[in-house]
Each structure stands twice: as C-alpha cells, then as structure tokens.
Subunit: 257 residues, 2 copies
Amino acid sequence: MEYKKELERLISDLKTNYLPSVSMDLVIFGFHDGQLKVLLLRWKETDDWCLPGGRIRHEENLETAAYRSLRERTGLSELFLQQFHTFGDVIRYKNYSREETLTKLGLPDEALKEFASRDVSVGYYALVEFAGVTPTPDFFAAECRWWDINQIPLLLFDHNDMITLALKTLRRQLSYQPIGYNLLPDKFTMPDLQQLYETILGQPLDRRNFQKRMLGYGILERLDERKTGGAHKAPYLYRFSKEKYEKALADEILFVG
Amino acid sequence: MEYKKELERLISDLKTNYLPSVSMDLVIFGFHDGQLKVLLLRWKETDDWCLPGGRIRHEENLETAAYRSLRERTGLSELFLQQFHTFGDVIRYKNYSREETLTKLGLPDEALKEFASRDVSVGYYALVEFAGVTPTPDFFAAECRWWDINQIPLLLFDHNDMITLALKTLRRQLSYQPIGYNLLPDKFTMPDLQQLYETILGQPLDRRNFQKRMLGYGILERLDERKTGGAHKAPYLYRFSKEKYEKALADEILFVG
DNA sequence: CCAAAAGTGTTGTAAGTACACCCATGC
DNA sequence: GCATGGGTGTACTTACAACACTTTTGG
C-alpha cells in the first residue's frame, strides 16, 4: 500500500532528523474581503481541523524551522513571523478527549506511538498576503484552506486557545508598532489599510485620526497614482517604505532569536 | 569516586525521566539595597557563571517544571513567574566558543554527550522576595548567589542576551500592569515601591505622580501603621490587596498555559 | 534648630478623540 | 443629479509630566 509505505518513511525520517519532544504550531493570518482569515488543515478521513505545525531539524534553528514550515504551507517566503508563546501542558486535548482525538487522527498503531507522545510546542503567528498564498496540505491533511476568524470550528488539541492568544498578541502589537507590510499587496489605499486594522482589532476607527496616525509613523509613501475602477472618488495609492518600516520594527523588537 | 557515581545516576535519571531536546532557563530577579539582582550559578572548578535552568519531566507541565526549578534554587514557592521567549538557535554559544565552553564545563566525556547536545530552551523570568530566598546550588554548581544587574559578568552560552530580553520584557510589562507583589515584603512604604520601580526601569520617577498612579490602580491598602526607626518623617505602610492585585493581573494576562 | 525624607494639589502639555464639509465618480 | 465613499482640519478632552511647600523625625 502506497500510503503505508510513505507513512513508514515519514516516521523514520522524523525519528532520525528531527528533535524529539519539541514542535511548532503556526497561526497564519491572512486578510481578504474585509475579513481576517486563518489557515487550517483538515485531517485525512475526518471532518476535524487543526493548525498547521512543524518540527525542528537537528541542525536547524527554531526560527528557520518556522519559516520553512510556513513556506511549505503557503508557498511564501516573504512574511512577518513572530513567536508568541510556548505551550507545554502535558494534556493539550481540549475540545475532545485523548481517546477521541487519537481515533479522529485515524493513524495506524505504529504511527500513533510517535504522534500521541507529549510535545512542548512553540507557537508562532504569521501575517501573510492572502492573494499570494497557495494553501498546501501536508501528508496527513486532506485539505488546507482559509477560515474566517469568526467561524473557526472546534479544533483538535488546544488550537482554539492558541488562535485566541495569537490574536490577542497581534492586537497588542498593533498598538505599539506598525503592521501591514506582509498582509497587503504592494500598493494599497488608506481605506484598505484602515479596514485591515479594523478587522484585526474588531472595531471601527475614525478615518481622519487613522490617516494622521499612519502618516505620522513616517513609513508610508503616497504615490501619484489613484486606484481607479471603484464606484466612487478614486483614493490615493500608498506603498510601505521598506527601509523605514524595517527600522520601525527594529526599534521595537530587540531581537528575535 | 562519589562524584562520578552521582553523575552517572543523574545522567541516567535525565535520560529516563525528562524530555529530551527541551530545557528551561530562569532569570530570577530579586530586589535588595536599591539594586536589582539576578541569581546566577557558578560551575564547579571554574570561574564561569550562568543562569539556573531546569528540565521537564515526562508527566509534568512546562510551567510546573519552571515552578519546581525555581523552588529548588530559591526555596520559595510564592512568586511571580512569566515566560518571555523560547530560544532555539542551534549555536547558543556566544561569549565563548563551543570548545571553550565544553572545557569550562569540565565534565567527563560520557556526560558531555548529554550536555553538549542541542536544546530548545524556554526562558522564564521570576520576581522573588530577596529576603526570603536561600540560594541553593545544584549538583553541577559550586556556588549560587545574587549578582547586581549592572555587574553581570560574561556568562556561558547566550545567557547575557537572555537577561537583557527578560529585563526588557519586565520593563514593558511594568507599563501595563502592576508588579511588586512578589518582590517586596508584606508591608512596605510608598518610597520602597517607588525605588523598586526606579530600579527596574533604571530611571528616577516623580514621587507625587508615582503615588497617584499606584493608588489609581486600586490594588494598595494603606495601613494605619507607619514605618518607624528611620531617621526622618515616618512613611505610611501599605499592603497589596491580594484579590485586587490578582484581578489586575488576570485582566491583562489571558492565560498562562 | 537643622538636615533629610515624606505627605500632599495644581498647572501645563501633548497625545488622542470627536466631529463636518467639500469633492470625485459611477450609475 | 444623486448616492457613496474619499480627502482634509480644528476644537475638545484626557492622561501624563512638571513642579514647591509644609510636616515630621533624629541627631
């Protein structure tokens, strides 16, 4: 059986090349249609969803591993990535019991031993440009797609909590440093950016104050173009000034090691 | 040889009962004599210092393990503990090369295999009441004592960076939630509290504004006592109202899993 | 009685919030 | 021409920063 052989190969690869006891979970945020989205995986043969994850190779930095896993799921390598918490409870089953969860995973016994063992998991969240993403399932997943943040189902493990904490961290971060570089297309309008902020924060903002604040950061360039084709007055297009944006981030984040 | 036997026992215990590839490092802050202190360990047979650390038992939650390790080094169980970052670079040697570091550790070959392997390490910082601490070395340490935050020597591994990041996190935390419950004795004066804040932040604060802000949090009770014995006007004593303090923390920290 | 620390209120300033009118475009 | 959304500036409010005099105590 093709599947079984591949599974064996994977498990052996896992045992030889990856650190035991540690994994990563990824909360990948995208923005589309005025909605904040999260990328989820559906396990083969079930209706149950969970966050994409990954493991760390022996000779690989933790952060490098996170970037690699992100690339594997999204096809993107330009993105904003941030560690937000490390989850280390022995029991990480939440919505379903351990037995239910293992049944749902539907793995043969020799694989279960590997997958049911206890991991400490480092949580990362990423901000990516929705349009650039090609959601790609991994070996165990039947499907990989975006979910609206307000319609996330009950997930396997403690993954609902992870999303909640990632979002909370993201919101706080928004208050002390600019965000958007990796969530919006290259050129965008001020209303686009505002909608992004409103979506993340879950509340409306004043147009004029918002613009004042954003321009105040000094990280935006207004282009001489306007966005045409809309049904109304054509808004200006803006672009992030990459150097200034990076600088603003660096001022805040001391290091991300 | 007693040492060698004990070492063998420890290594075997480590292999059987603790998670591989994951460890913890602890930045334990105390406050004394108007100075912020950090608890460091000195390795046997060397002059080199490093942060205390710990490992996680198979059936033990990450946070429980951190509390346990803290108790082992300080004797305290009542304290403020906060995860601040997870360090996962393959190369975590910084001030000294890998070879230098291994030499300094001065361990026999069979132990080196265990200790030189690569770990992902979860960083915690703790705030403890200085007077209540009994600094206790572990098996590998010759000495365990407080160091003034401004006089930390070059440490083994990336531990200087860890202290820097822990302090940065602590300072930021100070700006959006009250701290002090586990750093001060039960009863303390407003100048005591202010000195604590000034020490952590590394800058002087205005007495009147400080008092206004602290009382504004609504987490302090002024007692009818004053602190006598000082050479000048006797200051009032205050106490944290535990329920209100806990509530203020809970409002900010969603969960600490 | 003097030096040193603690108790206490008010004023200024800066950042953030609220708010309204004119303009361009597609239908 | 009208409905819809975008461009723009000012007044208000609120949180924070600056600041000085009186009181107590030990020496």
